[in-house]
Amino acid sequence: MIKEYDVIIVGGGITGACTARDCALRGLKTLLIEREDLCDGASGRNHGLLHSGARYAVNDPEGARECIRENLILKKIASNCVEATGGLFISLPEDGLDWQAKFVTKCREAGIDARILDPEKVKREVPAVNQSIIGAVSVPDASVDPFRLTDANALDAVRHGADILKFCSVEDFVRESGRVVGVRVRNAGGTQEIRGREVVLAAGIWAARLAEKAGVHISMLPSKGSLLVFGHRVADIVINRCRKPSNADIIVPDDAVSVLGTTSDKVPFEDCDDMRVTAAEVEVLLKEGVQLVPSLAHTRIIRAYAGVRPLVSEGGDGRSASRGIVLLDHETRDGVPGLITITGGKLTTARLMAEMTADLVCSKLGVNAKCRTAQLPLTGSETAERKVSKVIDHKLGNKAQEGTLAAVGRHGSESLKMDFKGPGAELVCECEQVTRAEIAYSIKEFGVRNLQDLRRHTRIGMGTCQGSHCVRRAAEILAEELGCPDRAGEFLNDYLQERWKGMTPVLWGETLREAEFMRNRYGRKDYEI
């Protein structure tokens, strides 16, 4: 910790992590503060979709242009976080083809490579797709791992000199003659003041409440989006509906699962800390999802979850709420110097949001430094493919190599830091192929507190069995690595509660059987519903 930072960024989601990286790369003394673990809020509760911009092409051409630019940049700089799956926009008979014509024109105007495909060919090549399609357009959508992208940005920020304070909440701002000059934070160790020349709020929907403490009002609308996780990849490509954006009209292949979403409902601020998916939402998602991929009607759903979009309504009412990037300079807007808010936007455009923010911070600080985040590869994706292939020697059929390919897929060249030999070879999570080596690396690099934190950095317990197979072993290993062997039981129980929360809305069929198996295995408990 140093005495005064150039910039303090509040919020360890994707926007905050990208902003911290950008500022650190420009040579600013940077601090990132997060009240929980990185990626705990909306950044970890979305589709994992790297938009091509096509979805916005008709209604928001500027957003579409931002998306395609960032899409191409992230494919280059974040190769271990992005899988260039491509995307489809399908038209069903009831949709007609009018929207498709407009859509393709608008995509091309925005610079998105949209191509009209022969629906018959699409039906053959993507057998999962609704076979009654009358049209299909290909776009460069992709799948992105938001946990990984946040981690990679945070790691790179740290490696360029930034500090990160996790599990530490901002209680208030430190003000001197109207100017924000720092933050007062609370963590397990108590409260303290940290001084910063500029403070950036990158806290998603939580920015509104924080800003009030500085006497600044930001009109935000929390918008809940619910999603379903299906047990395997139903298709290798993102499938969208070619019509006016609506509920549950995108399915994304994320890692070994498929994620269907989303809904969009206004919710009160007080619900934002604990989002629960309702039965009605599950019903809407399923009803619409089977229109994209009919087999979803009988594909195992392993979990449901929800996140909150930080929509900003600067005009005042809900309809004009923008999903675009909102950068607020509170010095000019509200007469509160030293405070900046970055919000709105999308996972896809987080890097651009960070660039805009860092530009503003630099101009305030009188620093003349160019943004380099669009060119420098992120941590883990330094295209060290030859080196990485050393790690992957799975063709030997050697047991010690199990899980290494998955680790390389998740961490890219960072996996070279993992020791897959000896105890590290133990495969702990068999669904998601997480080895002890990957666990040890993640504990060291990301400072995890519990199994839920560990999950965000490794995918442990995120597969079909939701941890029922591995959670006890994982809890023991975590407790051992953290040097607190007596806490294994506590880790296990906390984790099961969290898994249960996601399984409850979809508790039927195979997932119900799994839940019963889990309950009988770990003992009956009262779960918080």
Partner: protein
């Protein structure tokens, strides 16, 4: 809510209970085999994401299907693994050997005319050394001898006309081993059927069932041959005849794997395809057939349930049938895999695992000390004879030997 949550990917029913791992003979013998749970449902999710996740160690799966027998959720674990191998397995380091082992029909056609010579040459030490060194066929293995006269040749020359005296018929799928190596079993089959009052027809066209092709990743060839067999069996069944076999592996392949692994239609014949013992036991029970056995027949036998027999769940019919034969003293062995898994155990790199898997069974056989072991699987026969020196008979041969002349 969904009506069910089982897609075409039956692995979704997997609850990760790992019972399959506890019954996998390979997992116990070879620590580099990931076991059925991982090799099947777990890794399949990742193979769907990226074929690079194909694990080379899947080659160790014996396709014994014990995982499927054990699975409380009905996951077709072995089929998932077999399909993954057909789709993703890298090319073999011994392509020539694998092709020879897999194409049993072709090799039989080549070898039969020179059976005497082939049988003399194959067991010679220098020949074995070459097969071992250059081809990767373990020198400790001995190939089954080829017969100088194929069963089909004998059938057409010696007995086909005689069969016409019956007024009811069964159709016999003989299989490669019987045709090229061991026609005596087929002759025993004809004897037993005739004694039961049934004439024997052969299929219009018969090809190798393809079990060895599939195991050696010759999927396309397997489909071609299966289609010939399916058409012939459909024709026989449409003509009102049951199709009988004397091999549990051929039967399982054609009843189950044709549809489950090769995605071919089996509805036209599946319910009418059976093992001779099951069919015969049913006929005896219903009173349709009465067999007369010799009074002086005495034999101490141990019954080995072949893995595919266990998967079919039909061993009970054979056991009950053998119990009907006066003079048979029968020990039913604990159900353990013999380890050969068709062509698997012939491969040099697999030999130690093959023998390790089989060791429990061999010990049980020695302890029961029979005159002969009885089993429906020809490759179990080779393995048990090679590993214990005790002769192995098909139950139909036992019935044939016990029949009153």
């Amino acid at each position: 809510m969904q009506e069910n949550s089982l897609s075409v990917f039956n692995f979704e029913a997997c609850q990760k209970c790992s019972i399959c791992n506890t019954v996998c003979p390979m997992m116990a013998a070879n620590p580099s085999y990931p076991g059925p749970k991982k090799a099947g449902p777990d890794q399949e999710r990742y193979r769907l994401k990226d074929p690079a996740f194909y694990d080379y160690a899947l080659k160790y799966c014996l396709s014994c299907k014990r995982c499927e027998v054990a699975c409380p959720s009905g996951v077709q674990v072995a089929d998932i693994i077999q399909k993954a191998r057909l789709e993703h397995a890298p090319s073999s380091k011994h392509p020539m050997r694998d092709a020879m082992l897999a194409h049993t029909d072709f090799m039989g056609t080549l070898a039969s005319p020179f059976a005497g010579l082939v049988n003399e040459v194959l067991p010679l030490r220098p020949v074995k050394a070459v097969l071992d060194g250059a081809f990767g066929i373990d020198a400790r293995r001995t190939f089954p001898k080829y017969s100088s006269e194929k069963f089909t040749t004998w059938f057409h020359r010696k007995t086909e006309k005689e069969q016409a005296r019956f007024d009811r018929f069964v159709t016999y799928f003989h299989g490669c081993y019987v045709n090229y190596n061991y026609p005596q079993l087929a002759k025993d089959f004809v004897k037993v059927m005739n004694a039961a009052g049934y004439g024997v027809h052969l299929l219009e066209k018969e090809r190798c069932c393809g079990v060895a092709l599939v195991a050696n990743n010759f999927g396309r060839q397997a489909v071609r041959q299966a289609k010939v067999n399916i058409a012939s069996m459909e024709k026989a069944v449409a003509g009102g005849e049951e199709v009988l076999t004397t091999s549990s592996s051929c039967t399982y392949m054609m009843r189950n794997d044709y549809s489950e692994v090769l995605n071919l239609p089996t509805d036209g014949y599946r319910d009418s395809l059976s093992l001779a013992c099951k069919w015969l036991y049913g006929k005896i029970q219903s009173g349709d057939v009465k067999l007369r056995f010799r009074k002086d027949f005495r034999m101490k036998l141990s019954y080995h349930t072949a893995c595919h027999m266990q998967r079919l769940g039909w061993q009970t019919y054979t056991i009950e049938l053998l119990k009907l034969v006066p003079g048979v003293e029968l020990t039913v062995l604990d159900q353990n895999c013999c380890g050969i898994a068709g062509t698997f155990g012939f491969k040099k790199e697999n030999y130690p695992y093959s023998q390790k898997v089989g060791s429990v069974l061999f010990e049980d056989i020695r302890r029961s000390n029979p005159q002969a072991v009885v089993t429906e699987c020809e490759t179990c026969k080779w393995q048990i004879e090679m590993s214990t020196g005790i002769p192995v008979l098909n139950p139909i041969s036992v019935i044939a030997a016990a029949l009153e002349d």
